[in-house]
């Protein structure tokens, strides 16, 4: 793990960690991070909700309760413990059953969930939080600060923002850091000031979602057995491994008195029952929607869009663009080669057929965008720095020469190919061709997504893989960049900033307030990104979800649809 030297660098690290979540996102995690940096630059890319807050509130008042919502989930449920894994199939649990202290509001600021209010001491070192009283877990246990503190203790090693705040601004002992004040109040005690306290307790990777003793007493590295018990609007009902799991409204749910706002505030469980159904085959998923076997389908072959558009019973939800990426393994040859590593990575980038890969990933030309900028295309930060001759250059011959000169001709590259996730699967096919064209041998290792997530953590199992990230809502230039995975050995590819350029630019960015200079630094960062060929930027693609037309309240959101507050019309 990383070492923290400078306080301001922490902000970068926070964003990096947060981005690690989002970047490995691929909807694996549903958490959106908003970091209000000191500079306060905010560029917010918000998925447009289909209706205003008021509209939705009105609709909710008129909503009919009931019905069985069936969601086709992506991937198989491995564990119900979102404190242990970030898999999207598990994250669904969080959205229904478990609740945290804070959640995001529509404006991407934090709103109260289980926390009711807080005070900061005048020196800014003691933060006292009051939790909502009258909340009970689904097993009848009343919520007290014991559960909150227990959960925070379990997550203290894994939740990155929390860990960062504790390590850099808090005392050495957890018990000195988090103190129980009463059954409904607890305090966070700092040794120096930071504005990140709420973020530390809020949504992040391995969000502290408050659980009962049977779960929080487990080590963080151990998946909790059994079924989840939380404080959310729905409670767990049943699970058929490999098939589905089901939740039903919790009769004693104590809703926040705050107005519903984004994921924060009051929630209502309108559906009588919510099921997450595993359908591994994408054609079957769509057929299931059309034959009314499920109500919501995520991730399906976009070839079926025309068919779905004709279907009067289906609504399509357009997602904000996804960014398709490819990652090199920096721990084993050839891409970690001290002399040739950078050139070999460059070779892959310069030879790559980005258009073909995007098409293979997304289907048709109208759904792709050849965007080589690290900053979101179409924003003020978009840049073409360093792209010349590198992005979508298709310089196969030049690349082949590099591979040959490096002595890696015929070297086998293991490309992980998650066949159940179309974007990565499609890109992997094209990658095989490109890698073979430039002189490598390719071992296309077909697996399912769950296995790939497992394997990428084991450095000796792969040389290359693709992911994509749904662009979620982030603020600030750093938050806007996709540098989570390249930061200081923090992510699965274990990129290391060999000559310190990365670090230098980050340091400068963290202290710079001038927009023009920031832009220049960003360009420099991107130029360096292409120079070092840190990862393969393939481009942007769009996809859709499809749902039963009579579900009210769905809107484009790569983080996942929360089944509360939505209802059948």
């Amino acid at each position: 793990m990383w070492r923290v030297r400078y306080p301001w660098l922490m902000l970068l690290l926070v964003s990096a960690a947060a981005l690690a979540i989002v970047a490995c996102g691929e909807t694996e995690t549903v958490i959106q991070t908003v970091i209000v940096t000191e500079k306060g630059d905010t560029i917010t890319v918000v998925a447009t909700p289909t209706a205003t807050l008021e509209d939705r509130a009105m609709a909710a008042v008129n909503a009919k309760k009931g019905g069985h919502l069936r969601v086709s989930s992506v991937g198989s449920v491995q564990s119900f413990d979102p404190l242990w894994t970030t898999a999207s199939s598990t994250a669904n649990v969080a959205s229904l059953i478990l609740e945290g202290l804070f959640a995001y509001k529509e404006d991407n600021t934090l709103g109260n969930m289980l926390a009711e209010s807080w005070d900061v001491s005048s020196d800014g070192l003691k933060w006292t939080f009051k939790i909502r009283s009258g909340v009970e877990f689904h097993d009848g246990t009343p919520l007290t600060t014991d559960e909150v503190i227990g959960t925070l203790r379990r997550q203290s090693e894994r939740a990155p923002v929390f860990k960062l705040v504790w390590e850099s601004f808090g005392p050495a002992s957890f018990d000195d850091f988090i103190k129980k004040e009463s059954d409904v109040t607890f305090s966070v005690n700092l040794t120096s000031q930071t504005g990140l306290v709420l973020d530390a307790l809020g949504p992040q990777n391995f969000t502290p979602l408050i659980v009962t003793e049977s779960w929080y007493s487990l080590p963080a590295t151990e998946s909790a057995p059994g079924t989840p018990i939380g404080t959310g609007p729905y409670r767990f009902e049943s699970w058929t491994p490999g098939d589905r799991w089901t939740a039903i409204p919790y009769e004693n749910y104590s809703s926040s008195s705050d107005a519903t706002d984004g994921e924060a505030g009051a929630h209502t469980a309108f559906f009588d029952r919510v099921s997450y159904i595993e359908i591994p085959d994408q054609a079957t998923r769509v057929a299931a929607l059309q034959t009314d076997a499920v109500d919501v389908v995520q991730e399906f072959s976009q070839d079926l869009l025309p068919r779905l558009k004709e279907d009067p019973n289906v609504q399509l939800i357009a997602n904000p663009p996804n960014r398709l990426l490819g990652h090199f393994n920096y721990q084993i040859p050839p891409f970690n080669d001290p002399t040739w590593g950078r050139q070999l990575r460059q070779a892959v980038v310069m030879a790559y057929d980005n258009e073909k890969a995007l098409l293979a990933a997304a289907g048709t030309p109208d759904r792709i965008n050849l965007c080589g900028s690290l900053m979101k295309c179409g924003t003020a930060w978009e840049s073409s720095a360093g792209m010349e001759g590198r992005y979508y250059a298709q310089r196969v011959e030049d690349a082949r020469k590099i591979v040959k000169d490096a002595g890696y001709e015929g070297y086998t590259i293991r490309v992980m190919d998650p066949a159940d996730r179309q974007p990565a699967h499609g890109a992997a096919q094209v990658t095989r061709e490109v890698l073979e064209d430039i002189g490598f041998k390719v071992d296309l290792r077909v697996m399912d997504w769950a296995t790939m997530v497992q394997d990428r953590a084991t450095p000796d199992r792969w040389e290359f893989f693709h992911t994509w990230s749904g662009d979620s809502v982030r603020t600030g230039p750093i938050g806007h960049m996709r540098f989570g995975e390249i930061q200081f050995d923090a992510w699965f590819n274990h990129y290391s900033d060999t000559d310190g350029t990365q670090r230098r630019i980050f340091e400068e960015l963290a202290s710079e307030t001038d927009q023009t200079k920031i832009k220049a630094l960003m360009d420099e960062m991107q130029a360096y990104f292409y120079e070092d060929a840190i990862f393969l930027q393939v481009g942007e693609f769009y996809d859709n979800w499809a749902a039963n037309k009579n579900i009210n309240g769905l809107h484009g959101n790569p983080g996942g649809q929360k089944p509360y507050d939505k209802f059948f019309e």
Binding site: D281, D303, G426, V430
Partner: protein, 308 residues
């Protein structure tokens, strides 16, 4: 008593292997001339063999490379079977896929036959070895072929060679059990006793007297193995446990099309048709070889005719 000239041929030594083999092919050939279905089946197999050898040179497109611009085309004058989800020509992939089916099918058949017959012949003369080996055989045969093959491949990794190995394991076990049974019953037969009595060495008895007499069973069984190995290879590829997806194999192509059943029926349909036709041809040939070669059956037909 009156003389019953019902000569028992048990005392006759078996005719030479080559004569029997010639007889078999001869009678199959004659049968094919009479039997349109058999002739058609043999032609299908020959066309398949031709494609297996030459299809990669006949293919007009680069069937392993994606071409996303031309994705999901319906069958047309250029792409006779249409294109798949990554724009690869389904016709080319299908004819090249023949290679995988035939390679695996014939390899498994050959390996399991040679190994199975060899092991069975050897163990039938070593009681302890036999006891040990047969427990293994029983053990392997307790698993359904494809399940065991799937498990094996998940352990040793998917590749053509591993598919062949995985499928050969159970096929060989089956062969050993079959051939051993036949050898043991033949060993008791009078002509083998006679050969033993005159001091013919055991390997010679096995090769000259026993082997030629089980050749019929072996050949019939081999056609069955061929058919099931082709099916098994397709099933494994379909489940993703065969060759990588970009290498054409009928099972692979069908699996690809499965994901596009609403809009790409053509992708799975044609390779499935090829697969079914091939297996059908092999089964028909096997049936007809059995009818023409199985001495037991032939004997029975004769005796019933004679009785009547």
């Amino acid at each position: 008593m009156a003389v019953i000239s019902d000569s028992s041929n048990e005392w006759e030594l078996a005719p030479p292997f080559s004569t029997r083999l010639k007889g078999m092919f001869g009678s199959t050939y004659r049968a094919a001339k009479r039997d349109l279905v058999l002739a058609a089946a043999i032609s299908v197999l020959l066309v398949g063999l031709f494609l297996a050898v030459f299809a990669p040179t006949l293919a007009r497109t680069d069937y392993e490379r994606t071409d996303p611009v031309n994705r999901m085309l319906a069958p047309n004058s250029h792409n006779w079977f249409g294109t798949d989800n990554w724009g690869r020509d389904v016709f080319d992939r299908t004819i090249v896929g023949t290679r995988m089916s035939f390679l695996v099918g014939f390899s498994v058949t050959l390996i399991s036959t040679v190994l199975g017959v060899g092991i069975a012949l050897v163990i039938s003369y070593f009681r302890i070895l036999d006891a040990v080996m047969m427990r293994f055989v029983d053990g392997f045969l307790a698993f359904p072929t494809i399940l065991l093959a799937l498990a094996l491949i998940s352990l040793i990794g998917p590749s053509v060679g591993n598919v062949i190995i995985a499928l050969s394991v159970t096929a060989t076990a089956g062969k050993i059990r079959l051939v051993r049974g036949a050898v043991l019953s033949l060993r008791e037969s009078t002509y083998v006793e006679a050969a033993k009595a005159v001091g013919v060495p055991i390997p010679r008895i096995l090769l000259l007297h026993i082997l030629p007499n089980i050749v019929g069973i072996i050949i019939v069984q081999a056609t069955f193995t061929l058919a099931s190995a082709i099916l098994a290879e397709a099933s494994l590829s379909f489940l993703g446990a065969g060759v990588p997806e970009y290498v054409p194999s009928w099972g692979n192509i069908i699996a690809t099309g499965q994901g596009y059943i609403q809009v790409g029926f053509h992708i799975s349909f044609f390779p499935g048709l090829f697969l079914t036709t091939t297996v059908l041809a092999v089964v028909l040939i096997g049936d007809s070889v059995r009818d023409h070669l199985d001495p037991r059956l032939r004997g029975r037909l004769k005796t019933t005719a004679a009785q009547q």
